[in-house]
Symmetry: C2
Subunit: 168 residues, 2 copies
């Protein structure tokens, strides 16, 4: 069986995150360690946005046998982004991560009140992005589109607070 039996695109969609990460590590001469395995498994256990500190807490809380140190978590997050498994966003000063691998491309509505992130997808956005880039001879590798505002729930709670009798 030759290497050609697996086209890159097939491999990309069929591998589990951990397998994909191991592939990445091997291609770079890096080692598959216990910590890296634990990290990937943990991160892809559920689909949520998180930052380095939250992840570190989860890997250390209520257990004396810490699964990974702070330094290792930071180093692994960088690798996971590099491997295309995670996406990194700079929000309000700190880095927030989310699944990228095996997850459809999307953008976010960011509520500046409760700091929640609402995902959405828009084909038109990508089209528009590529057109603009082409006009500037710019080679696109990605984008960050964050729409700031107030989510529906916060609008209601704010309305209740600020205008108790102004309903009429």
């Amino acid at each position: 069986m030759s290497d050609d039996d697996f086209a890159l695109s097939d491999v990309e969609v069929s591998l589990q995150p951990l397998e994909r990460f191991e592939e990445y590590l091997q291609s770079r001469g890096k080692r598959i360690t216990k910590q890296r395995r634990i990290l990937v498994e943990h991160v892809f256990r559920r689909h949520e946005h998180f930052d380095a500190d939250e992840l570190l807490d989860e890997l250390q809380q209520s257990r004396q046998d810490k699964l990974a140190s702070r330094a290792t978590v930071y180093r692994a997050l960088t690798e996971l982004v590099d491997a295309g498994l995670l996406r990194k966003m700079d929000l309000a000063g700190r880095a927030v991560y989310e699944h990228d691998y095996g997850y459809p491309q999307h953008d976010h509505l960011y509520c500046t009140h409760c700091h929640s992130l609402i995902e959405f997808h828009s084909d038109g956005l990508v089209k528009l992005r590529n057109e603009v880039a082409q006009g500037h001879q710019f080679r696109v590798t990605g984008h960050k589109f964050i729409v700031q505002g107030i989510c529906e729930a916060c609008q209601r709670s704010l309305r209740r607070q600020k205008r108790p009798l102004d309903l009429m």
Copy 2:
């Protein structure tokens, strides 16, 4: 003469940045100090992206009579954003600022190689943004759209470096 003689939109476009800032300060019971005046004047002297540290350097370099301290610069930048004079972006870990007041709305192509920012405007983007938000009952206050990639100049220099003769 009633207040209505000055519609908000007229006032917004006719005032100088400093005047606009003074208006903001007065409305908050804050004081118009020498440092705040110097900062606004300096920041709006030219249209460039900058971070807190660059600004601080410019206000202190080659002069023993420092124009503003680090703390004052950080505090003023927060006020200027709050006043609507500056826009803040979180790029690569640190905050980058640019003119907002009196400057047309725009977005950026961000070269991840030379870290330059290329501005562009797209009506379609705003339209698309509003449509998406409306679909989620989300009240938009703004957005950040950053297209990452390699600018034209860097594409050329990279091409030259990496494949001199394509040997080996």
